[in-house]
């Protein structure tokens, strides 16, 4: 029974990780790529961690796997936010089909290059 659950969870996690990679390859834009990578890889790694915890089954490895999970869950959104912010302020061009850029007026006043120019 444990083996069946582990097999299912591992295959699901691997497929989610593959989807993250395909999204990073196929998306048109830094921001859409970052979205695909961050969300799908967090879910995929969570599935793989659950499978490994079921398979190992002792307390030491469970604590290690739980700490990896908590750490990834905390740091992955932060990393995505930091990359997106840096890319936006570095004037990486948006996708042609972007229909809304609410930050543009606000960001033009606060760009680091403008701050140093004044």
């Amino acid at each position: 029974m444990t083996d069946i659950i582990t097999a299912f969870v591992w295959l699901a996690g691997a497929v989610f990780a593959l989807l993250a990679a395909v999204g990073v390859l196929r998306m048109p834009d830094v921001f859409t790529r970052m979205q695909a990578s961050t969300k799908a890889s967090t879910l995929g790694l969570g599935c793989l961690l659950v499978g490994a915890a079921l398979q190992l089954g002792d307390l030491a490895s469970f604590i290690r796997l739980a700490s990896i999970g908590a750490f990834v869950l905390l740091t992955n959104p932060v990393a995505g936010h930091v990359i997106a912010r840096a890319a936006y302020y570095a004037d990486v061009s948006l996708w042609k089909g972007t229909i809304l850029d609410e930050r543009r007026e606000h960001a033009r006043a606060a760009t680091p290059s403008n701050r140093t120019a004044e």
């Binding site: 083996d3 582990t6 097999a7 591992w10 295959l11 996690g13 691997a14 497929v15 990780a17 593959l18 993250a20 990679a21 395909v22 990073v24 390859l25 830094v30 790529r33 970052m34 990578s37 961050t38 890889s41 967090t42 995929g44 790694l45 793989l48 961690l49 499978g51 490994a52 915890a53 079921l54 398979q55 190992l56 002792d58 030491a60 490895s61 290690r64 796997l65 700490s67 990896i68 750490f71 990834v72 740091t75 992955n76 932060v78 990393a79 930091v82 990359i83 912010r85 840096a86 890319a87 302020y89 570095a90 004037d91 990486v92 680091p112």
Partner: protein, 88 residues
Amino acid sequence: MLDIVAQITLAILGLALLIAFIRMVKGPTLPDRIVAMDLLGMLVVGLIVVLAGWSGVHATLDAAIVIALIGFLGTVAYATYVERGDPQ
């Protein structure tokens, strides 16, 4: 049965690593490469976790913790560098 499933899982993760590596080589700007590098770190952590669960050797999980930490630090450091300097 679990041996076959673990091998299939490792093969899919290796394929994902290859695809992310293609994006890291192609990526037109530096933030693209940072995103791909972040994903590469995540995939390597997943690979080590599956390998540890399959073989029963839980000492390798420490390496997974370290890789997750270093990957996050590298991403933040690169992003700070991009935000200060030239994106090309």
